[in-house]
């Protein structure tokens, strides 16, 4: 029997503790819409998160979920993808998790190109710990850890991803859930590492970068924009203070994924073998696997 997918398919019973009005709600909804549109069922996907408000997201979805330690969802997701390349692996974490604590993993995921979709809830602040400045906070941003204003220049994640070799880089805005769902769907379809930097207000601790603030600055890249043109992407990647581009900023669909190049996977993944074994184990297969992997 074929079950028709619906965004409600992904609804979970867990009580949601995000602040009402938080952009995380829109991201959660957009992800459900994107998965529904692509016909990806809950058992066919895994959402890996780090630590932070937005990283509670797997708890609020009926889907395979894994909350890792701070900054580490990308290596865990890469491992999951290697273990089961058939799984759609999606990482969801915040700007502090992705670009700060996990900055090293972010950079190397860009160059490795595992087939993972990385959604970064970029609210320019650490919200869960009650408001400290993050790697993407603007200069002069006043927080509990920068009472005189942040003195560090903000990281430009799109520019970093481009320089580090990411094959799909997009930006969207939590205030535009339809656009966000379309961009997430496009990123999931891309074979390789895809970064989606989601501009998302923290309605409680960031009183500067509000919905209003973003609305005045964001603009959608037009149909005449060519995301395969690296020079155009470089120019867009540095746009920030007064005009902020939304959409697919760069894509390269020609490169092989990380797992495409791992030779043992070409003969079938280890997890796939185990699952087959569980269905119909032949005498001695468990022992053989143990010798092979343990």
């Amino acid at each position: 029997m074929v079950t028709r997918l619906d965004p409600k398919t992904f609804d979970a019973d867990a009580e949601n503790t995000w602040c009402p009005g938080c952009g995380d709600f829109a991201i959660l909804r957009a992800l459900k819409l994107a998965l529904t549109e692509l016909g990806i069922a809950p058992h066919e996907a895994l959402v890996v998160s780090g630590i932070g408000c937005g990283s509670k997201l797997p708890d609020y979805m009926h889907i395979n979920g894994y909350m890792t330690i701070h900054g580490r969802p990308l290596p865990v997701a890469t491992g999951a993808k290697l273990a089961n390349p058939d799984l759609h692996v999606i990482v969801v974490d915040g700007d502090g998790d992705a670009y700060g604590i996990g900055g090293n993993h972010f950079m190397h995921s860009c160059r490795r190109n595992p087939n993972i979709t990385h959604i970064v809830e970029d609210n320019q602040i650490y919200g869960l710990t009650k408001g400290q400045y993050s790697p993407t906070s603007d200069l002069g941003f006043v927080t509990t850890t920068s009472p005189d204003g942040a003195i560090e220049r903000p990281l430009l994640p799109v520019a970093v991803a481009l320089a580090a070799g990411a094959t799909f880089i997009a930006r969207t805005f939590a205030g535009d859930p339809k656009h966000m769902a379309a961009v997430i769907a496009e990123a999931i379809k891309h074979r390789g590492y895809s970064l989606i930097d989601v501009l998302q207000p923290c309605v409680t601790f960031n009183r500067v970068n509000t919905y209003d603030w973003y609305r005045e600055r964001v603009y959608k890249l037009g149909e005449d924009y060519d995301p395969t043109d690296r020079d155009s992407a470089r120019a867009r990647a540095h746009e920030w203070e007064t005009r902020i581009p939304l959409g697919v900023i760069y894509r390269n669909d020609e490169l092989q994924t990380y797992e495409d190049q791992v030779l043992p996977l070409q003969a079938g993944s280890p997890l796939a073998s185990v699952l087959k074994l569980q269905k119909d184990p032949a005498p001695g297969q468990y022992e053989s696997l143990k010798e092979q992997f343990l």
């Binding site: 009580e15 503790t17 602040c19 009402p20 009005g21 938080c22 952009g23 709600f25 829109a26 909804r29 957009a30 819409l33 869960l128 009650k130 939590a174 205030g175 535009d176 859930p177 339809k178 656009h179 769902a181 207000p201 309605v203 409680t204 601790f205 960031n206 009183r207 509000t210 919905y211 209003d212 609305r215």
Partner: protein
């Protein structure tokens, strides 16, 4: 109704401290309304809503995002409310202390909606209401 009378109505309903704060609250709620009200309907409010406030409504989109929900609507208002603390509602949750400003944001919506309803005629009030996200419609109805 002129602009100052409108603001006085909002200030009285919301028991807001100053005219400046009232103007800010009003603008914030109307900007959120502009996110859900189709541009084609905006000018039909021009004869009833003070021109100083039509500026915010004219920020409407040709086609509002169909997935713009109550949380997003409240988010526009919440971002301007001072943070208050409360206990985390989850059992064994990671947060020991969590911020809630929702009640204040809803009150702000109410005082602006209440004044808007006073200046709009029945059909216009209905037109506005049907374009609001579901939970916000409820707030509008109770205002």
């Amino acid at each position: 109704m002129d602009y100052e009378t409108f603001l006085a109505g909002v200030q009285q309903r919301g028991r807001l401290g100053s005219r400046e704060e009232t103007a800010f609250v009003t603008a914030t709620v109307l900007r959120a309304v502009a996110e859900v009200l189709p541009m084609a309907h905006v000018e039909s409010f021009a004869t009833m809503v003070p021109q100083e406030l039509m500026v915010y409504l004219r920020g409407a989109h040709q086609e509002p995002d169909p997935y713009f929900d109550s949380n997003l609507f409240l988010g526009w208002v919440l971002a301007t409310v001072d943070v208050t603390g409360g206990r985390d509602k989850t059992e064994g949750g990671l947060d020991l202390f969590v911020a809630y400003s929702t009640d204040e944001a809803i009150d702000r919506c109410r005082c602006v909606f209440g004044t808007l309803k006073a200046v709009l005629d029945g059909p216009q009030s209905e037109l506005l209401s049907i374009h609001l996200p579901e939970s916000i419609q409820q707030i509008y109805a109770e205002s």
